[in-house]
Subunit: 853 residues, 2 copies
């Protein structure tokens, strides 16, 4: 935090000077470090935050004295130096001190064209950024040629009614005041606050003697870095341009030289081998001593090399991982530091394909970025069409008003999902994240006509079935056509970083995995087990759905049992496969949860199919479908309520689980399944289910002549279950908080219906964040805390966890650690993020820094 | 609670004996009181609970010694004496000691027929209740004539292979053991536990010398009481039958005499004037000394009057009120005692018509008794038909699958409501209770075909539109045809009792009232104000509904404002009327709550009407109706979410409220309206609404040049609002807990969908009670407690209340008093119940008895 004590207006940056990032900004501090490392940095003065603030308020500065510090008639540059480079700031201004006299003098020494180039550059910058004249009259943002000088001076005089200022001291004072005021302007403040800057963030300025890249002998400027910013691979990258200033080498690439000698042509390595070697040495010094990959800005003035500046190389998430791991492997930073340098959320980008940031984009629609990654495909408007497209081997994007469980197979077949309605926790979003499919929801601008198979964008463009689009699930943008994609980056660096994370972290990370594919992903990402296996998806497969419907339509308990008897071997196979994949890691299976009507069709056509399949009169089918309909399915006859009302379903599932346990055990894999009861609100519900599950276990053990262990626990999804956790824990080995439903009930807010106003709510700051996206620590979190305390009070070894969609976010992991949870469970694609976040929290705690996870 | 110390096996009941209700039962204690009042009670022995328990275990008793206590060869009776007469118990057995020898001796003194009658009565009772023989062989439950004696003795010997027992001591021992064991049998235990008896409830027995009502001179038996058990009016009622025993006079009514002299014929008053006068005196003594209206069982033995027993007169709720008030007015009991003697729930019966319990019933269907009272009417299947029926002046019963807001006007027009679906807090139930309409919901046995206008009962009977049925909303039974009804009993006694209750109670009782009719009912029942006025019903009236729909379909904020501008005067009129009716008592108005789609039709026909009315293309209407549909409307875009997303609605309502306040103020009635924000889950929601409401208030005050006060508060319906009550109270003058929605969200259970399994759940004791019926103190109550504590911590003068359907129950009032609430609000018809319950709780607290409310 910056101190408020006023310092001397300016300080020369020397190895001994009292320069601090918190007082003078990062650039000033970095320049001091370079000086301490004996690099040839031109003389530089630093103005502190306080000094710059006073300048903005109108305090006069002794700029004549400052210029005197640089010796006789110098040219100087001014650059911003804020605490964090990400907060932005005014651009650098070069060649301050140029005037007619200096121009004349320099024309003598370096030639008229070079002198004019320096003057022109300064006039352009001064006119636009200091005098605030319209840039059109001063090159319109483009560098003007040397010949433009007289015209620019004339234009300046015309527009300001005075000649271009000739006094270098006034020039410098004007530049400093303009930059100071620009920083304090409203739009700059809002911009940097949006990037996380505090309201009182200060700006420092550095005034540096210009090393002139334009002039006699070998003169020029360039930029060098030692990694590829996309991959993090070690290589020398940059450009050098003779007779240029600043970063011109990067702008005027056609004339600039490559740095290293290779087949691309002339290079700096050949042209200036000594300077090149010196730069490589400086880069290495930066890496080992500044412990970071830096980009160095340098100038050669008449054969002498100067280092003007060095900044951290901006890099992709992927490069960030590699740089951090490489620095740790080279012993420059510790593994802990490496972990702390990678932002967990950035990992999400590595797990999925991404739209190439350097390729052109043609956005047509925008919605909520519900599941990250990018995919291209042909538009389809139904699950059936998605399956057909998949069968033809053509990637497709499933577009729906919203998705329902009936669409699951279509979602599996699609490359991405796009829905008009829904929020971050809508069916489409949840399932897509689970499947690792890019997904955009809540695209309310889209006009969708499913019957005529067309969607219209607000700009009037129409896309029909078969048209190609690209879904950018990381940004929430739908792009027309096939955008260029980058492949995911699950390389050795990534794996190494995460293995370090596993050593550091002190909370388990499991995956929510419903299918063998999910389970394989969970294994690939090295989750500690499955924290939530939802079993209902298993019943939507074609052959099972019909049996499910028979079960639902059964008139007698016997008929129901007969239908379930046919489902038993299928369920057993499901569990055997899951257990085999997870190789003895814990698998927590949630018993059947959804209302039965989810398995019934809503269209007349669908009902006719059922009537035919089950040989029932149509009137019978419609009557029963109507009878099962609910006003608020979310709050209806589902979960344990169904388990108690129709106990045969849970009996069958328990039997399948235990028989699978025995079968896999015989293959040599010890499995201790965990069985989780959903939607509990009262202790007695647990007692009743436990009695039946225990009975099934005994029966299976007796019939198979095998012994096995298992745990029975409760999914805490209702506020009441959290409040009564003391009661409920008596019969539970574990409590797992299902924060999706718990958030819905705590807020009284359906995730499927929240999409229509959530943006509005978050924009108006009614909610600080979408609570389906970021765990609401104050409300829902309070229930988790109450539940954890009351549960553990009654049962000290109660296993506690969270298995909602929030499970993988750094914020929720921080919270879960604070209340003593044993593990978090999240969608498989979030497992790496969670592993890293957990490690960072543990490291920060050990450091006592309370780091940000 | 009974003491476990074993007492002497039997005790003679004398004025001085140590007889206690908790040891010997109520009958033994009552007999002692009669003895202390010098009434001619035959000698009586009491067996304690412990003694009877030991007898059941097989402990032998000195019955020979007991009989000796009665002198030479007595006949005795045995009657049960439990702690509470409502717990049931074995029937009395008379004439123990009859045997062949005694028969012969009595034949000499009172004649052979009389002697045989005594013997026959004993043999019948002994054979069936002691020897446990099939009653068919012993008169099948009917009294046998004297001539049957030889046959009965023979049958007894045939069935038991032994002659009828002749030893009086053995007879008595057998009778005592049989009665003791009957009490301890499983079915008797379950029955009395169902009536509230503790598991270890004891049975005492009283053994009394028989006063023989059969014999020489004036002999006979009878029963007398001094009130009418239906009305509580003072009058002498009973029968006397010469040459009879026990309660024969009530059974053989054709031969029995009336007691008082009147036009009905011969009477005891004429036949035995001295005994009659004595009985009247005893009755008066009982009333003043036992402080209760007693029914006296008496016997005249050869001209002498004996009092055998006295029991509290069983009475209707209505009579109970009158008796309690009359006893207090006569100074026999205090007003507090009078209040404690009337069970609040019993009042509900007085407020509504009831099915005459003495008339025949023809039940066809059974469901949840959702709103008490009875009504008869013709079956109608739509709100339209109800309105038409009402217009013809024909009472009707509205039968629906379930009701929706569109049915409100039809419900107003109907005499009762019957729905196939729904629970105690379904729309139909809530509205019907509010309107005081009898209502039965969740009649899942009913097969309903609304299109063909017929409903079928499980027994196959079919009722078509126009057929007459009777709804008994107090029992949940639907009766065929027109059952006989009793009128409600809102008489002076009732009003007096409640005025005493108002003096005693220390918590406010307001009414939930949406309409002028509700408000009038609330005033009639003397509520302290309106605690919840839901405003949405106001928009369902025909002329307003169209404007509402225009508002919903408005494309621009201006069009929306224009539609609302037309609704404003209507709303203002609504509020003026309410304020006028409530005459300055507080009126708490809840801002608009339901999702907008509730105002749209779901049928194509309805949509076509809208398209025509609003001059929109049909496709536009269907698209918008679809766009507004929600998965879980309960948890969707409603309440304050709508208030924030479409703020014009709340603006209009606030303006209507304030303008009405000014208008009524000008008529001389000071109104301080309370404005309540529904469905709040975050503090910021309150801030945003408060800012706008305050602005509207300032604008109205300025425009009207008037000053007025108002309170703004929050309806706490989401668990989060309760958890964050500290935050929320900062901007709230009051918090009112809406326990309907709060229960739904705490349990994750929609009241509309719970009906399908709630019975099952309560029967299996998964939930001890339907939480929509009885406040769930452990879960929902915990949130109320947390909310109250956190709210008051931040704002000490925060007004706290409950306004859900639970508001009126004694349990919830107990809870609300315990957490310091200021008032409860309940449907108008529950106000009297709540007033009485509140008084009883205050009295019980003051007594330190912790009475049961």
């Amino acid at each position: 935090m910056r101190k408020n004590k006023l310092k001397a207006a300016y300080t020369e940056i020397t190895a001994e000077a009292g320069i601090e990032t918190a007082l003078h900004g990062g650039r000033a501090k970095c320049l001091q470090r370079l000086i301490r490392l004996d690099m040839p940095v031109p003389r530089t003065l630093a103005l502190s935050f306080d000094a710059v603030h006073e300048v903005a308020q109108g305090r006069p500065l002794d700029t004549r004295g400052m210029l005197a510090a640089f010796g006789d008639g110098p040219l100087v540059s001014v650059r911003p130096s804020s605490e964090d480079p990400d907060w932005g700031g005014p651009g650098a201004i070069l060649n301050i001190g140029m005037n007619d006299a200096r121009h004349a003098a320099l024309s003598e020494t370096i030639g008229a064209e070079a002198a004019s180039a320096l003057y022109v550059r300064f006039i352009q910058a001064y006119a636009v950024h200091v005098a605030r004249l319209d840039s059109d009259g001063f090159g319109g943002g483009e560098a003007a040629p040397a010949e433009a000088l007289p015209g620019l001076l004339e234009t300046y005089q015309e527009e300001t009614d005075e000649p271009f200022p000739q006094d270098p001291a006034r020039q410098l004072a004007d530049v400093l005041r303009a930059m100071a005021r620009a920083w304090e302007g409203t739009s700059a403040r809002l911009l940097r606050q949006a990037r996380g800057a505090p309201a009182d963030a200060g700006l420092g300025l550095v005034v540096q003697r210009m090393a002139l890249g334009i002039g006699n002998g070998e003169s020029g400027s360039g930029v060098i870095q030692f990694i590829d910013e996309q991959t993090g691979a070690h290589l020398i990258k940059g450009r050098y341009l003779s007779q240029s200033q600043g970063r011109d080498a990067l702008i005027d690439r056609s004339k600039a030289l490559f740095l290293t000698r290779d087949e691309r042509g002339a290079s700096m390595e050949e042209g200036c081998p000594d300077h090149f070697r010196a730069l490589v040495g400086y880069g290495e010094t930066c890496r080992t001593r500044l412990r970071e990959e830096m980009q160095i800005e340098f100038t050669i003035e008449d054969g002498s090399l100067y280092i003007l500046d060095a900044v951290r190389v901006q890099r992709s998430a992927r490069a960030g991982v590699r740089v951090a791991v490489a620095l740790a492997e080279d012993g420059i930073i510790t593994r802990q530091e490496a972990l702390m340098r990678v932002e967990p959320r950035a990992l999400a980008d590595l797990l999925h394909k991404q739209v190439d940031p350097d390729s052109p984009r043609d956005p047509i629609l925008r919605g909520l970025a519900a599941s990250p990654g990018a995919a291209r495909g042909r538009v389809v408007f139904s699950a059936m069409a998605a399956l057909a497209s998949d069968a033809r081997g053509e990637p497709c994007v499933l577009v729906r008003h919203e998705t329902a469980p009936e669409d699951i197979r279509g979602m599996h077949a699609a490359s991405a999902v796009l829905t008009e309605r829904g929020g971050m926790s809508s069916h489409a979003a949840v399932i897509a994240r689970g499947l690792g499919l890019p997904c955009i929801v809540g695209v309310s601008d889209m006009s969708l006509d499913v019957r005529d198979k067309r969607l219209s964008a607000p700009d009037g463009r129409i896309f029909c079935e078969g048209d190609m689009i690209t879904i950018d699930g990381s940004s929430g943008e739908v792009l027309a056509g096939e955008a260029k994609l980058l492949e995911p980056a699950l390389d050795g660096w990534f794996k190494k970083l995460l293995s370090w994370a596993d050593t550091a972290r002190d909370i388990g990370v499991r995956a929510n995995a419903d299918t063998p594919a999910d389970a394989r992903t969970a294994r690939m990402f090295r989750s500690d087990g499955i924290g939530l296996c939802r079993t209902e998806h298993m019943f939507f497969e074609d052959d099972r759905l019909t049996v499910m419907r028979e079960m639902i339509f059964a008139d007698t308990s016997e008929d129901r049992a007969a239908a379930l008897e046919r489902l038993l071997p299928m369920q057993r196979t499901d569990f055997i496969e899951l257990f085999e994949i997870m190789q003895g890691r814990p698998v927590c299976i949630r018993l059947f949860d959804p209302p039965l009507h989810e398995f019934l069709p809503h269209s007349r056509e669908g009902m006719r199919e059922i009537a035919a399949a089950l040989d029932l009169p149509m009137s019978d089918v419609t009557r029963r479908v109507e009878a099962l309909a609910e006003f608020n399915p979310m709050l209806g006859l589902r979960g344990v309520r169904l388990g108690i009302t129709v106990p045969e379903i849970y009996d069958m599932q328990a039997r399948a689980i235990f028989e699978a346990t025995v079968a896999v055990g015989r293959q040599g894999t010890e499995v201790a399944p965990e069985i989780m009861i959903p939607l509990v609100s009262a202790r007695r519900e647990v007692e009743l289910v436990k009695a039946r599950v225990d009975a099934v276990a005994s029966a299976v053990a007796a019939a198979e002549g095998a012994e096995f262990g298992y745990r029975l626990g409760v999914m805490v999804e209702t506020p009441r279950a959290a409040l009564r956790a003391g009661d409920i824990s008596v019969n539970s080995a574990f409590l797992s908080f299902g924060t999706n439903d718990l958030t819905q009930m705590t807020y009284g807010l359906s995730r499927d219906d929240a999409g229509r106003f959530m943006n509005d709510y978050v924009n108006k700051e009614v909610y600080p964040e979408d609570p389906f996206h970021t765990l609401d620590v104050e409300g829902v979190g309070e229930l988790l805390r109450i539940g954890a305390e009351r549960g553990r009070e009654k049962k000290a070894d109660l296993i506690l966890s969270i298995c909602g969609e929030h499970g993988g976010t750094p914020e929720s992991i921080r919270f879960c650690r604070s209340v003593g949870f044993d593990y978090v469970s999240c969608s498989p694609f979030r497992v790496p993020v969670a592993r890293l976040a957990a490690a960072r929290l543990a490291i920060a705690d050990a450091d006592g820094t309370g780091g940000e996870g």
